[in-house]
Structures are given as C-alpha cells and as structure tokens.
Amino acid sequence: MKRLVATALCAIMAIGTLAGCGSDNAAGGAASSGAEAPKDDPSVKTINLWSFTDEIPGMVKKYKELNPDFDYEVVETIIATTDGAYQPALDAALQGGGADAPDMYAAEAAFVLKYSQGDASGFAATYKELGIDVDAKIKEADIAKYSVEIGTRPSDGEVVALGYQATGGAFIYRRSIAKDVWGTDDPATIKEKIGGGSNSWDTFWTAAEELKAKGYAIVSGDGDIWHAFENSSDQGWIVDDKLVIDPKREAFIDASKKLKDNGWHHDTKDWTDGWFADMKKDGGVFGFFGPAWLINYTIGANCGTEEEGNSSYGDWAVCESPIGFFWGGTWILANKDSKVKGAVGKIIEWITLDTSETGLQYMWANGTLNGEGGTKDTVASGTVMAKSNGELEFLGGQNMFDVFVPANQFANGKNLTQYDESINSAWRDQVRAYTGGEKDRDTAIADFKQAVADQFTSITVE
C-alpha cells in the first residue's frame, strides 16, 4: 500500500516536472520577439482563436475568403461567458501554454481590462510586436479615444487591444410619446428637453415629471441610467488599491431612489421580461439609454409585431444623452508567446484598423459583411463612420451615426478598473436593496464596502 502511494506520488511529480520543462521551452522560444517585423515559425500553420461568441470567428472566415492565399488553418475555441466559464478556461490556457494555447483571443468590455491592463496583461503581445504600425494607423482611422485608452497597457504605454465596434451610447426615445408630451419628435428639441450633453441630470428630472403627468415613465428601470452614471465619474472604483466611491457614482443611489419614489420608472431590471415588454408600442416608457447595438438587437427584436398591433417599429429616434457613456464592445488581443504573430497581426489589423471598403469595419458599419441588408452598427473608426450611412427605417429614417459618432468621443475609458464587473454588480445589488426598502442608505453603502472588502483582499476599504 505504502509503496503504491510512493510510486504514484513519484509519477505525479514526474509529470509535473515534465510539464514544467515543456512550458519553459515554449517561453524560451518566444523570447526573441520584440522586433518590428515578427518572424513566424514557418512550421506552424494553425492559429488558435479563442472567443466567447461566433462573431470574431465569422469575421476571420470572411478574411480567409477575401485573402485566398492566407494559408493558415484557424482553430476556433468558443466558450460562452455564461456562468463565468470563459475566463477560467482562457486563463488556464494562457497559463498552460503549449500547442493549444490561444494565439489570438477576444475580451468583452466587462472584463477586457483584466487582459489589457490588469492581472493578465502580461500575456498580451503589443500591436507593434504583431507588425502593426499602430500609432499611425490609429490616427489615420480616427479610432474612438476610449477604445484606445482601454486597450493601452499602463506598464509600458503600448496598445495591446483594440475593438472594432464603437459602443458610445445615446438616448433612444419614442417619437409618438415625444409628440404627445412636447408636440414634437425632433431630436434637436428632445435633446434640449432631456438635457442632452448638459453633463447634469436636472433637466432630465424635469422631463421625467412632465412625462409622468401624461402617464409615461421616462425610463424602464434604474439599470437604464446606470451606465451614464458609471461613465461620468472622475475616478474609478479603485485608486491606489483603495476603494473609492466617486460622488458621481454615489449619486446613482439617490437617483435610483428618486426614480422609484416619484414613480418615474417601471422598476424593471434590465434583461428581464418587464424591461423587454416596455419596448413595445404600449410599453409606456419614453426611452432607453444605449449604443447602436441596443437598437439593432434588443429594441428591434422586442418592439412587438404588426399582427398584434403593438409594434413600435419606426417610432424611435436617438438624441444625445445627458452624460456621455459607452456600453459593451469586444476587444481583440494576441498572445506574446504566439509563433504566428505576423499572421495574427494581419487579421487583427484588418479587423481593427483597416479603413478601406474591404476592411471589416466598413462592412460592419454598413451591414454588408454577409451580403447587403445586414445590421448596421457603429464602428471604432471615425474615418469609416464618416463615409458610412447610418439611416435606419427603424428610427423613422434618422441617420443614427449623426448622434453616435460624437457620442463615441464623449465616452470615457479612464475611470475603469479590471474588477468593475464584480464591483458594479455588488453596487447595483445594494442600490436595489435600498430603493426596494430592504435596508437604509447607510447600511446599503456599508454592505457594499463589506462585499468589496470580502472579495478583494488587496483593496483597502475604509
């Protein structure tokens, strides 16, 4: 028995040592990188692509279609973010290295900072290492500032991640309700009514009261205004390893209470039945805060049908939000240990920085990636946006790019931290507990601090 244990232990240790050697070799082989033009290992003809949706794999297929001489096989690994499965797997794969390790990987806004600036940023290759003349290209393409800020690694100031979408947000409102309350649905006037671009919520509350008098709610739930509050703050949640509740983020708890006590919203939670229902014709909600994708995928899919006679299709318009914000988006990174950096660099450049009409972003913006008539979306490059057409029937023919392009410039990429996903949800939980009458304001804030302190032992909470 004892001998058996000993043998097994030896075996396990041997395996451990072997694995250790393997990864050392891999690291040694890649250490020569850092030059402008990467030298790919000619024996490697596969690119491991890790993503949490089929969006980027679809793009890469298109790239191969457009470039038949690109002779790399792309091995896709798609793991849903559902139940938090993507990150542990990606982390293990990055740490494990070897042949299955990702060469290129995608990260969503909620967790991209971990990979571009935070704990896992050490795994990322700089865009320069991939052979991309990144500074000049960013200027040429006029990439949204926040997108670059998020993708810049603080330790060396190099760009390691960029997105293709721009997710600057606006206020998306119902034309018929605007006419009913203010006699007009003109975006310029409505912008004045809700205090668009004023950097303050005062006008917005006035509008809420006017809407209430006519039986409408200005928003569906407090989640709708959260992104604007989050993005307007001067400081992120963590400054010098200390938890900071920026006054502008703290104001959200009072704003949420105000919405609830005054009956200005329907008290729904985002992404639940009630929230979706409020997008229909008789939903009784004036507007939603969101980027272009919210129009395409969420409001568009839930606006009701003609048969039911409950469709709000074409009854929407966009105007500037009181405070600029962005919401969502996907960034692309490459592994510093990849043996095919040159090839990966070509794909990444095509996706994130190519402004030509055969570049990804032009097709993405005009909805032509998979043939004519696809969904139009805002993209990171201002240059591409300038030559694209964002007119949508859904918005009564309004060109949404007129609003979203400036919105991308208002978005702030500097007040975010890699732990925002966890901290935000703890904060939203507590705000909801307070507005729901479950606890008082001080207890809610104290519980929030406790939650953060529990989860982040490295953060000082006062």
Partner: protein, 292 residues
C-alpha cells in the same frame, strides 16, 4: 397520518377510512406529479416559441408555431451539432457511469465481504474524500489536466469516476443488511474463484442498487457543465450541455427559443435512459428472491 395508516390495516375489508386515505394519497401524488412535469412542459413549449414571445411572457402552457424557426436558428449558428454533441455526451456519460457502478460495487464488496486489517481505515478514508468541498479542488484538477496535456480528451471526465466515494458508500450501506455472506461461502465450497463469485453472483444481486446509482450518475454526468466546459474547448469534443450554452454566446442577441429547443434536445436522451432503467425503480428486483 399515522392514525390513518393504522386504519388501513385494521380495515382489511377496506372500509370508508381506507378509501378516504387512498384518495388523499392519490391527491398528494397527483399534485407532486404535476409539479414535476410542469417545468418540462414549459421547457418544451418554449422550444416552439419565438424569442420575442418568450421575452414578453417567459412562461406559457400553450405551444406556439416557431419550432421550425428555432431549428433554423440552431442550424445557422452552427455551434450546436446535435449528433456530435450526443455522441460525445454519450461516450462520457456511459463510460463514467459504467466505471463508477462497477468499481464502486467492487470496492464496497471488498469492504463488506472480506476481513482485512486496513478495512476500517480505508472506509474512513473514503468517507473523508467524499466530504472534501469540490469547487476549490477543481482548481488543482484543471491545472493537472492542462499540465499533463489531457485537454480536449474525454479521459479526465471518465477515468476519475472509478473512485466514486459516495457510490461506494451507498453500495456498502446497501449490501450490509441485504447481502448474505452465506452465498459467498457456498460459492467457495462449489470451488468458485473470488472474482468469479463477485461477477456472477454478487453483481446480479446488486442490480437494483446498481440501476439506481447508474441513473444518478448518468444524469449528473450528462448534465455536468462546469468541468467539461473548461476541459473540452474544441468544437468536435463538446458535449450537448456545452453546446446549449454556446447558443447563448451572442451577448447582444439571445435567441431564447432556440436555447429552450436545445435544452429539450439535451434532456431527451436522459429521458430515454431514465425510463429504460426505471423498471428497477418501479418493480424492484427484491434481493431475497435470488437467495432461494
């Protein structure tokens, strides 16, 4: 209840009390049965509804007309390949179940039938293994799987089930009162080898217990998501539950109808396996019958 139970037996000639009691029991059973079936019904019905319909009313008891649309969405997404997923899930679940059931019975047999010095220590050890909280241990397990290079293979999901402490415990508890050592002894007298005795005499007696445990293991292995999700990252080795989560990957546009359809497809094979094995739950081959 106790009083009523007494009544049942006293009135052998089935008086009114008996019928009232039976009616009560039936009522309880029907209520529980409805509670058990409703979620499946909702799931299947939602598989026929469109995403906006589901988003408007998450629960409906009446089917809609979008079954084919949902199939189309599943096909377009390409990540849900019911055949491949079914094959992979079947290999893993069958493998894990067979190994767990056979070797747990064997281990329990070793504990119940034989007298050996380390027996008690071994049993205590098995119990201790059973009590280790699983979540954190998985961190070390991933690391090991990645280091040894077993990612994207089925082995790390099948072989560990040879050591299934909870099942050994069950088999031991089941054998202790029910399994007569006389059988083993008479086999020995007949000249049967120990291994033969286990396979040909003990295993058949354990059938009901094995069937019960097989169901539990198969179901939990089939539904297991957390571990396979991290170990099986490539398309051709993914299991059905992973493929269902892949339907949810488009974070901006979730197709609920197709997800429910995927869930329904995933649960169908389980139903079949369950109903096949359930005859042991219904009838129950009583142990004693083998004795004669």
């Amino acid at each position: 209840m106790a009083k009523e139970a007494t009544n049942v037996v006293k009135h052998r000639n089935h008086g009114t009390g008996y019928y009232v009691f039976i009616a009560f029991v039936m009522l309880v059973c029907i209520l529980l049965a409805v509670l058990s079936i409703i979620p499946f019904w909702i799931m299947i019905v939602n598989g026929t509804r469109s995403t906006p319909e589901i988003q408007a009313h998450a629960v409906s008891l009446l089917p809609s007309t979008h079954l084919m649309d949902n199939f189309k969405i599943i096909n377009e997404k390409g990540s849900f390949n019911a055949f491949v997923g079914f094959r992979n899930s079947l290999i893993i679940s069958t493998g894990a179940t067979a190994l767990a059931v056979y070797f747990s019975t064997l281990t329990a047999y070793a504990i119940v039938v034989y007298q050996w010095k380390l027996k008690r220590a071994f049993f205590t050890f098995i119990m201790a293994v059973m009590m280790i909280p699983a979540q954190v241990v998985t961190i070390g397990f991933y690391q090991m799987v990645y280091k040894v290079g077993l990612t994207n293979t089925f082995w790390p999901l099948i072989l560990p089930s040879i050591a299934a402490p909870a099942m050994v415990f069950f088999m031991k508890q089941y054998m202790e009162p029910a399994f007569s050592l006389e059988i083993v002894q008479s086999a020995r007298i007949d000249g049967a080898g120990e291994f033969y005795t286990f396979n040909k005499i003990a295993l058949p007696i354990m059938k009901p217990a094995m069937a019960t445990q097989a169901i539990f293991t198969f179901v939990s292995s089939w539904n297991n998501l957390f571990l396979p999700n991290v170990i099986l990252t490539k398309g051709n080795v993914k299991t059905m539950p992973i493929m269902v989560t892949m339907l949810k990957t488009d974070i901006y546009k979730v197709e609920y109808g197709s997800i429910y359809l995927g869930l329904t497809l995933t649960v169908l094979p389980l139903f079949i396996v369950y109903f096949l094995l359930s005859k042991y739950i219904i009838a129950g081959v009583a142990l004693g019958s083998v004795k004669g």
